[in-house]
Every structure is written in C-alpha cells, then in structure tokens.
Amino acid sequence: MSIDIETAARVAKLARIKVEDDDLPALAGEFNAILGFIEQLQELDVDDVEPMTSVTPMRLKRRPDEVTDGHQQARVLANAPDAREGFFAVPKVVE
C-alpha cells in the first residue's frame, strides 16, 4: 500500500489541516514510512478474534435522564476566540 500525493492531499482535506502543495511529497513519504510499519499487522490471522472494546468488562453506569447542569453561558463562552450576543461567532456557513 503506497500513498501518493493525491491521497496525501485528500487525507489532509479530511483532517481539515491545510498543507501546502510543496509539502505534500514529504508528507506522503512519512505516511508511507508509518503505514509500512503498521503493515506487519497483516501477518496475523485474526479471523476468529473479537475486537477489544473495553479494558475490563464493565457495565456502563446508568442514571436518571434529567438535566444536571446548565445556566453557565458566560463560562462556556469565556474562552471563545469570537463570542457575540451569547453565541460563538463563525464565518458565514450558509449562503
């Protein structure tokens, strides 16, 4: 499995990280080194193995479905790069 420049560009896009065109070949090279290392996993026969989902089998705790928190608008917005009129402000999303 070899990653080409287009695939590297597609992955960067999916991850929402801007990568300049000039940097794509080096990035593809690094992906290939890491994926080459990961490739060893294909040696094992895992057909009858259940994927591990939790470290220790534990039933998730339940609690009544009720509101336990809230009314903290100012604190929620305190770290926002741009907060206005009680909202997070972002560039226009819908034309």
Partner: protein, 494 residues
C-alpha cells in the same frame, strides 16, 4: 528550618509537617526558589507562585487545626500541562490552546487540591502528549538534569517536564499521564519512579484527551513509597468519566512490606530485543537476581504477540487522536487563524489547525484520519483492535498460570541527546517498545530506577502487574528499589 526542603520526599515532608519541624509555606518557598533557578531545564511552563503560597498557607492552617489532614496536605507538586486547572493556562504544550484558561479543574488535580496539595506550576510536555523526547512542545524542550559532556539530554516524553522537575528537586513530586509509556520512559531517563495505574483507576475528566482508551494519569515521584501515597490520592471513581472504575482504592502505603517471598516474577523472552545495549541486558538480569534474592521465584514466560504491540498502537492511538483533536477548530477555545477576504468556515478550520498544531500532531491526526477513512477501517482499525485483544490475552494467560508480576527493561536505551536527527518518525516510536503493551492491555506498570550505565546515566526497570493490583505491584517495586539502593542524583549544572 530544615535545609534543602525541596529535596525531601513526600513521606519525609508529611512526617516533618506533622512533627512541626517544617511548614508547607517553607516547603513551597524552597521549591519556588529552586524553580526560579532552573529556567535552563525548561521544566516549568507556567509558574503559579501566588496560588502555591495561598494553598500552602491554607494547608498549614489545616495541619495546625489538628483535624486528620490527608497525607498530601501541604505537599508542593508540579502539574503536567495536560491537566486542566481552573483559571490557569492549560494548553497541552500546544499553540492551538494558547490563551486557554479552563473554567474547571480536572478531577485528578481537584482531588490533589482537596487533599491539600500545593500546585507550584504547570509542567512542560510533548504537544498533546505525542512524543518521547519533549521536543514537540510549543514551550521548547524540557532538559534532563542528568548530563554527560556538553550536549543536553532529553528527559524523555511525553511527561518530560514532570520527570525533569522531580529529578532536579523543583518539586516533591509531579503528575504525569501515560498513553504509550509517557510516565514510565521519562521516569527511567531521569532516575525517578513513575506509576501508570490500571486503566480506569484515575478519572480522565478534565485531562486533555489524546487516545481515550489508552490514556491514564499517574504519579511521578522520587520513591516507590511516594508513588503509593500520591497514587492513592489521585485515584478513585468519578461519575464524570464513564470508564472510571467504581472500586475501593486500598491504602497502598500500608501494603509496602518489602516481603515478596513466594511471588512469581515472569521474564518475557520477547522483550529481549536485537541490538539492545549490553547495559540494559545486564541491568535486567541484575534486577531479576535482586528479586530472587528477596525470595521471589523467577520464571521464563512468553508473550507471543509483543512484536505487534507498537504497530497496533500506531493505528489505535492516532485514530483516537484524530477524533479527539477534531474539537480544536477555532470556534470554542484557543487559537483561531486570521482569515482572508472570502474565507469560509472550511478555510477557518484548515488554517487554524495548520497554524495551531505542530508537525508530529498533524502527522498523527492525518494517519488517524487515514486509518479510519472509508474502505480502510476494517483493514487497519478493526484489525488493530483484534491484535490488541491478542496482546491482552497473552498477559491474561501468564497471570492465570500464576505469575504475579512481570519484569522488563523500561526503555531500550538511556536518555539520548536532544536534537538528534529523527527523519524517520518510526525510529522515535521505538522508545515505547517495552511500555506500550501495558497500555494496550490496560494493566498497571511502574518504572523503578535500578542502576547507572557506563556513562553514569540512570536506567530503569519496569514491573507490570495484574489489573487493579497496584498494591502488590508497588510492594514488588519497593523490594526492587530497596535491593537496588539507587541513590544517585544529577550534579547541579543549571
């Protein structure tokens, strides 16, 4: 006043506080002075002297009031920058969290605070805990107080600032976190003790998430006894973390008898790596000999899937990281890029993340994105989760056969030079070869300083225990520590 208060262990300070031989304020001032003289170590990223002195005073009042104060009351600590601390910068050593001051306190640091512990400052680390040398931090490198010749050495990573601060006596102990070895490897590189508890022992709430199924907080200390004291103070059930275990936390310190007669210690043959330095090999045999002399039975064991642990880790950890780090989008907290005319929300995300994340973080987020993308999920992610089940089964079989703990090297080398060329990212990943299996299986592991290499640098051994049996593990570590008699300290150059 006692001299060199910053060099005390937690146990020594606790006892001195109760005898009235010192005060938390004196301990704290000694540590703050040591921190101010140690900028060359780069260990402390954000100093919080006002908070420290205020909490020290409160601790002294509490100790004077003769109420039964917890063991950690008045003990000055460093807190890894990965822990959210209310009103204090908490940026996981990343540019993307510049200026972030949480409105809340992580459960672990809140428990320490409630016990009366004193926060001295926030400690350096690899960005988002991704690294093994503390070279990916936005704050610059943390440096190992141990030195040979002129070249500065790494304190390891990702809890490099914590390890450096504890080894240099800038604090009595520090918090760390461990996703693939980030407590145990830096502890080994600095001649200190690092405990990674069983997954679920410490709440992950309020700790900046890297790989949620692997992350676990733990203490980084000068002695095994201190790891027992501080570890117990950090653990316990928390309704805010659904994976936190609702189990009682025993008094680990009371379990430190040093008596390990009849215990079975496994030596896994797969951990004997090609090209392992002779010093590590020798140390490992010596460690086994010490435990044998203390009355333990040494047994050769096999953990056949060991070689697949690192490749499985480098699927699972990046996959979980890509998902966890999706929250850094420039909307709710941290850095937002300056936008050009006509830029929309996608450009805002892409520019913000390109500016805010360092190279290693970007690399892992993108690898994680790739292995989770349509068409590859089964081939990579699901396969890695199956391999993880096999690695866990290896341990379960060995424990079922009567093995109590497993002894391995902690790291494949002593501390290496900062700034060495790592053009192949995989080469850096090999640092975690002995520690990463423990995270995948969710087990407790501890690194104990046991000796020095030919150049005079500290080396550690790792003990791995049964799930939830930190008490037994700490007792075996205590026996190893007592037998090794490691007392060396770095000579002060900073």
């Amino acid at each position: 006043m006692m001299s060199d208060l910053n060099t005390l262990t937690i146990a020594e300070a606790r006892d001195a506080l109760r005898k009235g031989e010192t005060t938390s304020a004196d301990l704290t001032e000694a540590c703050l002075a040591a921190i101010d003289r140690a900028d060359a170590l780069g260990a402390v990223a954000h100093k919080t002297p006002e908070i420290a002195l205020e909490r020290a005073k409160a601790a002294d009042d509490r100790l004077k009031a003769r109420e039964e104060a917890p063991a950690m009351c008045g003990i000055p600590l460093g807190i890894k920058d990965l822990f959210c601390t209310e009103g204090v910068p908490s940026q996981a050593a990343s540019r993307i969290l510049e200026g972030f001051r949480p409105e809340y306190e992580s459960t672990v640091s809140a428990k320490l605070k409630a016990a009366g512990a004193v926060m001295l400052g926030k400690l350096n680390m690899d960005e988002f805990a991704m690294g093994s040398s503390n070279e990916t931090s936005v704050y610059g490198n943390a440096v190992n107080p141990w030195k040979v010749g002129d070249a500065p050495l790494t304190p390891g990573g990702s809890s490099g600032g914590s390890a450096s601060a504890v080894a240099a006596d800038l604090c009595l102990a520090a918090t760390g976190t461990d996703t693939g070895g980030s407590i145990r490897q830096p502890a080994a590189f600095t001649g200190t003790v690092g405990l990674k508890p069983t997954y679920g022992r410490c709440s992950r709430w309020g700790i900046v998430a890297f790989a949620s199924s692997l992350d676990q907080a733990g203490p980084m200390t000068k002695t095994v006894r201190d790891a027992a004291i501080m570890g117990a103070a950090m653990m316990g059930h928390d309704a805010k973390d659904s994976t936190s275990a609702d189990m009682p936390v025993p008094d680990f310190e009371a379990m430190l008898t040093g008596d390990i007669r009849g215990k079975v210690i496994g030596i896994p043959k797969e951990y004997r790596m090609d090209g392992m330095p002779e010093a590590i090999e020798t140390l490992w045999s010596q460690g086994a000999e010490m435990l044998k002399d203390a009355g333990a039975e040494i047994r050769d064991i096999s953990l056949p899937h060991t070689k697949y642990a690192l490749p499985a880790y480098y699927v699972i950890a990046p996959a979980e990281a890509s998902s966890n780090l999706a929250r850094y989008d420039g909307v709710r907290f941290g850095h937002r890029a300056q936008l050009a005319q006509g830029d929309g929300i996608t450009e805002m995300y892409e520019k913000t993340r390109a500016e805010g994340f360092g190279d290693e973080v970007k690399r892992r987020v993108m690898v994680g994105t790739y292995v989770l993308s349509a068409g590859f999920y089964d081939a990579y992610y699901n396969r890695a989760r199956k391999v993880r089940a096999l690695i866990k089964r290896d341990f379960e079989e060995v424990f079922a056969a009567g093995v109590d703990s497993i002894l391995t090297p902690a790291t494949p080398s002593a501390a290496f030079e900062l700034g060495r060329d790592v053009s192949d990212p995989v080469e850096m990943y090999l640092n975690d070869v002995f520690t990463v299996t423990v995270n995948l299986a969710g087990l407790p592991g501890i690194s104990v300083p046991v000796g020095l290499d030919a150049k005079g640098l500290p080396l550690g051994l790792q003990l791995i225990g049964r799930p939830w049996e930190e008490g037994d593990l700490l007792n075996t570590a205590y026996a190893l520590e007592s037998a090794a008699g490691f007392v060396a300290k770095p000579s002060k150059w900073w």
